[in-house]
Symmetry: C2
């Protein structure tokens, strides 16, 4: 059975893809270039997809109207660390809404109903479109808004990591054979990971919890 | 107040935009090039936007994975007429899901919460993403999945035409001053409208019901 996998190049989506593969699904990967500052993740997504033996990998260039986000507007600095009190400047408006919409269109066109996404609502940046409430509501919308669903084959959005800690995610991924040196998390997208942005901090926390060495090099180790 | 308006170049979206204008909203139009067969509608959208005095008009080119639809895959013929028994080949997978997702991202970036879309579930082709069930479910998903909504400003997706007949839509549009000669409905996208596709038939039925002459020229008058 085919499954559409959102593959960003980060460690969560790589792990979610490996979970899908371990369930015997044939992987149709989908990666988005939305003019993100850390375009480096795109080549990582390619390598991760290759290492997982994906059947097909589509790279979609999105030329969206200007988005108000530090991840696409380089005039807004990437915050160092994170207060966990507010949704940070790195929030990209409706990002997973757009990604999952296109995933559904792609799934419907190739005859798949399973969509995997590596969202996590435990060790995360507070983005509302990573939470179970959103995923459930979006799946409901898809299942009243698409031909496939109306014809009796509702979509299932799989979020195998949504309630795990970053450490648990990494341990699971290692057990599934993922090479995390292929993945990229840093928002800055420099040669080495910055070690200071929220995404680096969450990644480092995860490897520490898992008791595994992070194979990436950092400019600053926190 | 700003409102994002999905403007396709067709008569429904032109009317929905005119309704938004009549309510005193400042129009931010959004038009999608998704490699549709009837690209002619894009230049019509431009003219309609201009005639309505939009504040801003973004044209978004979507380079999506290959979609299974007669509207984008020219190897699938456009059906003549419509049985109203099944969802026709002109259905585009998750089209309004994608369009509304990008509209929400745009709205969030410009500080708008009102989105207008000219969907209609009476004189329509049976596309599931034109029905009230979908719009309501999608609005719910947006309002748990976006920062704007979480911060206390939920999105409202306005569908002023959803329960009107095509004749009622046209009469309303005429009363709001729309020049329907600027709009385009035919799926074939030829020099003249084909007069045989479902979209032409619905348009002709509407003008007939409204007792108004359709300003477009047709190859075949049904």
């Amino acid at each position: 059975m085919k499954a559409v996998i959102l593959l960003s190049g980060g460690l969560d989506s790589a792990t979610a893809a490996a979970v899908a593969r371990s369930r015997g699904l044939v992987l149709y990967a989908l990666t988005f270039d939305y003019n993100q500052r850390h375009k480096k993740e795109l080549s990582c997504a390619q390598k991760v997809g290759h290492s997982l033996g994906v059947q097909d990998h589509q790279f979609v260039e999105l030329h969206l109207p200007k988005l108000n986000s530090a991840l696409v507007d380089t005039s807004i600095p990437i915050p160092k660390g994170c207060s966990r009190q507010i949704i940070p400047e790195t929030y990209v408006p409706a990002r997973n809404v757009i990604f999952l919409s296109i995933a559904a269109a792609h799934a419907e066109s190739i005859g798949a109903i399973d969509i995997f996404v590596g969202v996590n609502a435990i060790d995360y940046s507070g983005y509302p479109d990573c939470r179970p409430e959103f995923i459930e509501a979006f799946q409901t919308a898809l299942n009243v808004g698409t031909k496939t669903a109306i014809m009796g084959k509702p979509f299932v959005i799989h979020t195998p990591l949504i309630k795990l800690t970053k450490g648990e995610i990494i341990k699971w991924g290692i057990s599934l054979g993922i090479d995390y040196s292929l993945t990229w998390s840093c928002y800055q997208g420099g040669e080495k990971a910055c070690g200071e942005c929220d995404s680096c901090l969450l990644r480092q926390k995860g490897f520490q919890e898992a008791g595994i060495n992070d194979p990436l090099e950092y400019c600053h180790l926190s």
